[in-house]
């Protein structure tokens, strides 16, 4: 997996509001390889959606502005690309599914109309061919009686069907990357299972890379190869899905996993992280998780931890994983042992 198709380095997206500058995304770096499914998890306000909108350059401006970093798609920096080039890429090579299938389709146009639009803009084809391809796409995403649905309006479809239509639209131009921002959050579990199944199928069949943004670690375990955990605008941990879920290293990831009620485990008291997610603001001192962390020590309050590499593409933003500190800890342990 050497072919990186999306590489974000120290992205900073800030919002300029009446209350001052808010660093919603503060130095996020991530890489997506061809055909890979990468998950970004975090709670509301951690900057995961803003990261995805930044890639598509859909951050509302003003108040939002990308103030630093690069976003490389293949070898091209999207932040330097012309408006026209971005339009070409958007919906064609990188496409996006949004959380609310109810509001992301235009209620005034038929499903067929909206599907054809994407195709006719990006693939120089005539209406008839676009029609044919649209029906093909609807069948691919498992919509029964596709020909009839082409003439339906969004309100005539259920939530799950609408999300399928959204996926059909975003997959119509065979994109290299699909960014899915909470695609199943508004859906019921049985419908969610259908949609996740469909996304897995598309990933296998068309080798499309997926960047999945979610708050549900269950969904991550289901579909992702690699996971990035975000907290207050920063990446706090990165690794393969198995590593993150089985062997989390950052206290926030640990707490998050322990606070989910488990379906397959017998009763025990639920762990909860004290306090609430801090609002990102400029000039935050030290580690952003320090006020809620049970391992916080002096250094966490004075110095901001960097993302320490643990080898094997595993990263964690915590001083406990700093080599020098680990050495001190193990020395202390050895001393007390002897």
């Amino acid at each position: 997996m050497s072919d990186e198709i999306l590489k974000i380095t120290s992205l900073q997206t800030h919002f300029f509001t009446d209350q001052g500058e808010i660093p919603a995304v503060d130095g996020v770096s991530l890489t997506v390889h061809k055909g890979e499914v990468v998950g970004i998890v975090g709670e509301s306000g951690c900057g995961k959606s803003v990261t995805s909108l930044s890639i598509m350059q859909l951050v509302p401006s003003p108040p939002g502005k990308i103030v630093g970093g690069t976003i490389h798609y293949k070898s091209e920096n999207l932040l330097n690309a012309s408006k026209k080039r971005i339009k070409d890429i958007r919906g064609n090579e990188i496409s996006m599914i949004f959380q609310e299938p109810m509001t992301s389709l235009d209620p005034l146009f038929t499903i067929g109309n909206q599907l054809r639009e994407a195709l006719q803009i990006h693939k120089k084809i005539n209406k008839k061919q676009a029609n044919q391809k649209s029906i093909e796409m609807l069948k691919l995403v498992g919509i029964p009686r596709a020909e009839e649905v082409m003439n339906d309006y969004p309100h005539q479809l259920s939530g799950g069907m609408r999300q399928r239509v959204m996926i059909a639209i975003s997959m119509a131009c065979d994109p290299e990357i699909l960014i899915a921002d909470e695609p199943t959050t508004a859906l019921d579990v049985t419908i969610q299972a259908q949609i996740l199944d469909l996304m897995k199928k598309l990933n296998h069949e068309k080798d499309t890379a997926i960047l999945l943004i979610t708050h549900d670690l269950g969904v991550v375990a289901e579909i992702c190869d690699r996971v990035i955990v975000m907290y207050a605008g920063q990446v706090v941990e990165e690794g393969t899905t198995r590593e993150i879920l089985k062997n989390p290293t950052h206290p926030y990831t640990k707490g998050l996993i322990r606070s989910i009620p488990k379906l397959h485990e017998k009763d025990q008291k639920l762990y909860s992280i004290p306090g609430t997610v801090p609002k990102p603001k400029m000039g935050m001192l030290g580690c952003r998780f320090k006020d809620r962390c049970e391992f916080a020590h002096d250094r966490c309050f004075s110095e901001a931890p960097e993302l320490f590499s643990l080898g094997n593409n595993r990263y964690s933003r915590c001083f406990l994983l700093d080599d020098t500190e680990r050495k001190v800890a193990s020395d202390a342990e050895a001393n007390t042992g002897s």
Partner: protein, 325 residues
């Protein structure tokens, strides 16, 4: 043996669908269609189901915030469906509700003090007592007494839900209907609220009817769980039994659809075809037969009755009904 605090039998709520220029009745939405269950004192009964299955309507009809169409609701042995407005208002001191959306259920123009003291005022408490009771309640739900003078917008979602809980607790209720109390919250805040609700139950000997769509949450907090589909209760039993040995095909599919945050759990997933049918035109016979992988001929015509198939295990499915009948 535990005393039943709430007995619901054959509860029905049909909403009229009106149309045409004269607003004539053109149909009915059977939001709750013949639901029966009992809640014991000190117990947490979970009700799960997908959107539109009638779980919230069930919760609201129990308090008669929505008038039931038919059926009987007994609270502490007294049938409350026939009570008049005044008697019902008195009774609501013992029955409270916590709503789903902590952003919409608190009046943005009132201070927290006013919000929490409203139920105290209605049930006649003087100003001094009210003030101290509000302070006490805020401490109980994990907020501080200085929060009393603030407005709802100054709080985060989790804190607002705590205010909602404080308001419900104000008059020492016996039963609280919790209508999706944690579904609008983030995971780390959700676990705080769940732990708070559990400790309050132990502290004040409360009884909860806990309505939610998240099976893991319901499993965590409940003692018994009922599963609803299209206005009907399809299965009701102890939570361990339900999760270890589900009987109804819908329960099985629902449980298998939940994504687990553990890469090592291998499970067979049952993916249901299609969507939930519309409750204004539910399928004949068993409402689930259109999507059921085990559907038989009988399912199309005859609605299965809600029967006890094992001790404390109720199921509405022809697979388990007595063939002799």
């Amino acid at each position: 043996m535990q005393r039943p605090i709430l007995e619901v039998s054959h509860l029905k709520k049909y909403f009229d669908v009106r149309g045409g220029i004269f607003g004539k009745k053109v149909g009915e939405v059977k939001a709750v269609d013949d639901v029966s269950f009992t809640v014991h004192e000190g117990e947490i009964l979970g009700i799960v189901g997908e959107s539109g299955c009638g779980k919230s309507t069930t919760g609201k009809t129990i308090l008669r915030l929505i008038e039931p169409t038919e059926g009987e609701i007994k609270f502490e042995g007294q049938d409350i469906t026939s009570l008049n407005y005044e008697a019902m208002r008195k009774l609501r001191r013992d029955m409270q509700i916590i709503f789903q959306d902590p952003y919409a259920s608190l009046n943005p123009r009132h201070t927290v003090e006013k919000i929490i003291s409203e139920p105290l005022l209605i049930h006649g408490m003087n100003k001094q007592e009210r003030k101290s009771r509000v302070r006490e309640l805020l401490e109980v739900v994990g907020l501080s007494s200085y929060h009393a003078s603030r407005y709802p917008h100054q709080f985060s979602g989790g804190q607002r839900q705590r205010i909602g809980i404080a308001r419900a607790l104000a008059n020492h209720p016996k039963l609280i209907i919790c209508d999706e109390p944690v579904s609008a919250l983030d995971v780390s805040v959700q676990s705080q609220i769940l732990n708070l609700m559990e400790s309050l139950r132990d502290q004040f000997n409360l009884t909860y009817v806990f309505i939610a769509h998240d099976l893991s949450v319901v499993k965590h907090i409940s003692d018994r769980v009922g599963v609803m589909y299209l206005g009907r209760l399809v299965e009701l039993t102890d939570k361990d039994k339900l999760y270890d040995d589900p009987k109804h095909p819908y329960t099985k599919a629902l449980l298998s659809a939940v994504p687990l945050p553990d890469p090592d759990v291998e499970k067979e997933r049952i993916i249901l075809e299609g969507d939930v049918p519309s409750p204004s035109n539910p399928p004949t016979g068993c409402a689930f037969h259109t999507r059921c992988p085990m559907a038989m001929d009988i399912c199309k015509d005859i609605r299965p009755s809600f029967e006890q198939v094992e001790v404390n295990h109720f199921v509405a499915c022809h697979l388990y009904s007595d063939p002799a009948q």
